[in-house]
Symmetry: C2
Subunit: 150 residues, 2 copies
């Protein structure tokens, strides 16, 4: 019985809009806690994992820091510092862009790709274990979230 009222011991909400905000924040924490546990043995955070996936999606094409920033899940995060952390771990490379010396080209390294490969199956299995929904329900949830943001 996973009702949000029980989970956070709040008897009732003023209105369903208020409630859904709380419910989303709470569910987010539920998911991130699971993700953290999964990624911790690999030495990366969920945010760093996301940046690596963005870079893999480039199929070898270099990407700039600001392009990563635009595509991050948390727009207020700091791509510059996350890239720096990944570089220290040898998971990405950073080279000055020749056409515009302000820009920095980022590519995922072989080591970064290997890490993603090792993680892939585990992440997929963990997601399916942690999300107690049928596939039609997941599709519906995706539609509602997309519509929510307008």
């Amino acid at each position: 019985m996973g009702k949000i009222e029980d989970a956070i011991q709040q008897k009732e909400f003023k209105d369903p809009f208020n409630k859904v905000v709380v419910n989303l924040l709470y569910t987010h924490s539920y998911l991130v806690t699971s993700q953290n546990g999964l990624l911790k043995p690999f030495g990366i955070s969920p945010e760093q994992y996301n940046v690596l996936r963005i870079l893999r999606g480039q199929n070898g094409e270099p990407t700039t820091v600001s392009s990563i920033q635009d595509r991050m899940l948390n727009k207020m995060s700091n791509a510059s510092r996350l890239v720096e952390k990944l570089k220290i771990k040898g998971l990405v490379e950073r080279t000055e862009c020749p056409s515009d010396r302000r820009q920095v080209d980022i590519v995922i390294t072989e080591k970064g790709l290997e890490l993603l490969n090792r993680l892939q199956n585990q992440v997929e299995r963990a997601n399916q274990n942690v999300i107690h929904l049928t596939e039609p329900e997941v599709l519906q949830l995706n539609d509602l979230l997309d519509k929510l943001r307008g």
Copy 2:
């Protein structure tokens, strides 16, 4: 057109479970960014706002730090430090619990209640503006999130 694929420029997802995780993280960031903008003029963070609401729900009954922790939206957060911040602002009071000297009783102050009152209408209006769903859709989303967590 708010599809998550467009928002983060990812062409497709391996499976809908994977996609709904990304969608929830992204939607969370969307909501928290809105909340931050709303609360900033009042000098509190979303997490501090949540603790104040928990305390208001007690109707004057004191609550311990660990009880606040249990009811926080982010279970990994740090109630002890958040309470400290609120105390510095004069929004809560902290007294040693007489029956168990390890525990600390927390109550919201008059100033804290006034802050919540001033915020109330604004938060409600902001929530309804930021959530582009009908009421039936909101109810459905609440149900799906509750079920997701199992």
